[in-house]
């Protein structure tokens, strides 16, 4: 009997603790300090003129959050529960807008925006969660057809392999529907979840419509077939292709003997991945028999000519020593300068960064 009472007490305690913890974690993480604690929006949340004024403010100061309010994770104004949250915790949001949360990068606007402007922008943010994006007017719902649609599609494959989807359409009585247009879609995530229309197929005498599709997508998707108001789906897992489908090319490919020779840091081949402009390396485009040699030879010949010319001056024999004059210093200095400059220029001919992604395939 006593053990039962203890058990009951513990159970109640755990439940109370869970609820309290839930409440605690559901609250905004910090207590709103005065003078912000308990402040309320002086405007009605659904006042469209206030929302319009707030939109002007938003576009001036808040576009880090994106035009629809959903660009920054952790503060998504476009989600449908945001209007409820902001109504409930309006003092918290007013506090954040006014004082900011500089440790996470949110500046405070109490000096650049008036109280009125800050409430206007919060009213506009309330409306963001309420707003549905405009699309072309929805077509009228198709009449119920009472048909049944079966879909046969492979469960997994590799992108780039041709697939066949077979749809079988039967009417309420179980007999095949002939000549009906079945639409095929793929349900995929690409910035939004949507149905990507693939095309249509017409059913034959047996009510079977066949659709061929070579996917370029990869990942877990769903194949969807639709006839009027009836839809069926079938999951499909596609592996990524070995070679990407889209091969950009921007040059005229000249015949070369061998691949480019490259000596340099590996980051030079990682276009932009390091967050820096590409650094250079020593390159021979087209392998050892590169056209670059022609240029290098021309430039080297030129600087070697300069060298030879000054060398003639260097070699001019001193006839008799004139005082303590050192007649070879100037030519020697010039020779060294020529050598250094010539070598730097030749190094510059070989040393170059990769900037085009198609050359690094």
């Amino acid at each position: 009997m006593r053990r039962g009472k203890i058990l009951l007490a513990v159970a109640v305690g755990v439940i109370v603790a869970a609820i309290a913890g839930g409440i605690a974690f559901a609250q905004p993480p910090r207590q709103v300090p005065p003078p912000y604690a308990g402040v309320k929006n002086p405007f009605p949340w659904d006042d469209t003129s206030v929302q319009k004024a707030g939109k002007q403010v938003y576009q001036r100061a808040c576009l880090c959050h994106g035009p629809d309010g959903g660009s920054l994770s952790g503060a998504d104004f476009s989600s449908p529960d945001f209007p409820l949250n902001i109504e409930k915790d309006q003092d918290f949001y007013f506090w954040v807008v006014s004082e900011g949360e500089t440790n996470i990068g949110m500046p405070g606007f109490k000096t650049s925006l008036s109280d009125q402007e800050r409430w206007q922008v919060l009213t506009y943010m309330w409306s963001l969660g309420k707003k549905a994006p405009p699309t072309t007017p929805p077509s009228s719902a198709p009449p119920p057809s009472g048909a049944t649609l079966y879909l046969t599609a492979p469960a997994q494959d590799v992108a780039g392999q041709p697939l066949t989807f077979t749809a079988m359409l039967q009417n309420r009585g179980g007999s095949a529907i002939d000549g009906a247009t079945v639409q095929f879609f793929v349900k995929v995530d690409f910035f939004t979840t949507g149905l990507m229309a693939l095309g249509e197929a017409v059913t034959d005498g047996q009510g079977i419509a066949v659709f061929n599709y070579t996917p370029h997508l990869s990942g877990d998707i769903e194949v969807v077939a639709r006839y009027q108001d009836v839809e069926t789906a079938s999951p499909l897992a596609l592996a990524a292709p070995a070679v990407p489908f889209y091969q950009a090319q921007a040059e005229v490919k000249l015949p070369t003997v061998g691949k480019d020779i490259f000596i340099g840091p590996p980051s030079a081949l990682q276009l932009g991945e390091m967050g820096n402009a590409p650094v250079g390396g020593f390159r021979l485009p087209g392998g050892y028999l590169s056209w670059l040699w022609l240029l290098v030879i021309m430039v080297a010949l030129l600087w070697a000519t300069y060298f030879r010319v000054i060398y003639q001056v260097y070699r001019m024999p001193a006839v008799n020593r004139i005082g303590a004059a050192n007649t070879r210093v100037l030519p020697a200095i010039v020779l060294i300068m020529i050598t250094v400059a010539g070598l730097v220029i030749i190094a510059m001919l070989f040393h170059s960064p990769y900037t085009h992604f198609h050359f690094l395939r």
């Binding site: 576009q59 576009l63 880090c64 994106g66 035009p67 629809d68 959903g70 660009s71 990068g105 500046p107 650049s112 994006p133 699309t135 072309t136 690409f190 910035f191 939004t192 979840t193 949507g194 990507m196 229309a197 693939l198 370029h216 997508l217 990869s218 990942g219 990524a240 990407p244 489908f245 889209y246 950009a248 090319q249 040059e251 340099g264 840091p265 276009l271 932009g272 967050g275 820096n276 402009a277 590409p278 650094v279 250079g280 260097y314 024999p317 006839v319 008799n320 050192n326 070879r328 210093v329 020697a332 020779l335 060294i336 250094v340 070598l343 190094a347 040393h351 900037t355 085009h356 992604f357």
Partner: protein, 316 residues
Amino acid sequence: MARSPRKPDKIYNLQNGMTRREFITGAAGAAGALTLLSVPLDRLLNPVKPAQIPAEMANTDEKVRAWCMIIDLARCEGCVTENTPPQCTIACLGGHFAPKGQQWIEVYTAELPGGGTFFMPTPCYQCENAPCVNVCPVAATYQDKTGVVLIDHRRCIGCRFCMAACPYQRRFFNWGTPELPPEAAFAQYSPIYPVPAVKGTVIKCMFCLHFLRMGKLPYCVSGCPMKALYMGDLNEDIASNGVEVVKLSRFLDEREAYRYKEYLGTKPRVYYLPGYGQTFGRKPDDPRKLLPVVWPWGGEGYNRRVGIWPWGKSPK
């Protein structure tokens, strides 16, 4: 060679400089050392820094992407019905704190053959054969492996050769220190999110690559109220404007897509679907013009005049 036979060789060398042998060895040694030094010197001058891109912008997308944009001109009506300046431009400049005067995506009013007009939003076309990347002398502008043309503002020397080379005039120069709101200082600079703008460098649209990597749409695409801009992946043959998803190849073919000034051979990554805003009821001879773009900051922008004794008077 007239050489006094009584003087020892050493003194002769001292007074007449080096011998030929010494010179050649010296020069060769210096040259060799310099060449050997150049590789580690290269690393010293541009050390491979750890990824400077902020963690949330790091590329976590395992898929190989080939970003492109499709602009449905049948849906673009210049935001004249919204009675605002073009929203794509406003969203972009607001999100990037673009200096006053720079419209990285600019909506032009173009002419139809019959005398009517249509509106043409024009971001950077991120050309595959980009003339700007071809001419940059210091590799400050380069292509990401998804095809987006980026600029590293720590490398750009401001020669503006890329601006002369761009046949679409989509690159802008920071002619002075940009006047930006204080919020701009919170941003961490990286080539894919070039905020704040750097004085003396070239800047342009980067397809909001920082958003694309996070799985979000660019400012212009999500900011368009008519959902006229689509973001696409040529590799996966897919495109989306944030509301609907389409098969890219089919979309382009069925809507007769074209690229602007394609004959120049730049191979742009932005496709236009012909139209004049007719999806939302606009007629080609609609007289309403685009509203002028307003920047919430910037004073006179880069049009300030610098007088002969400007110290302290004009803002820098």
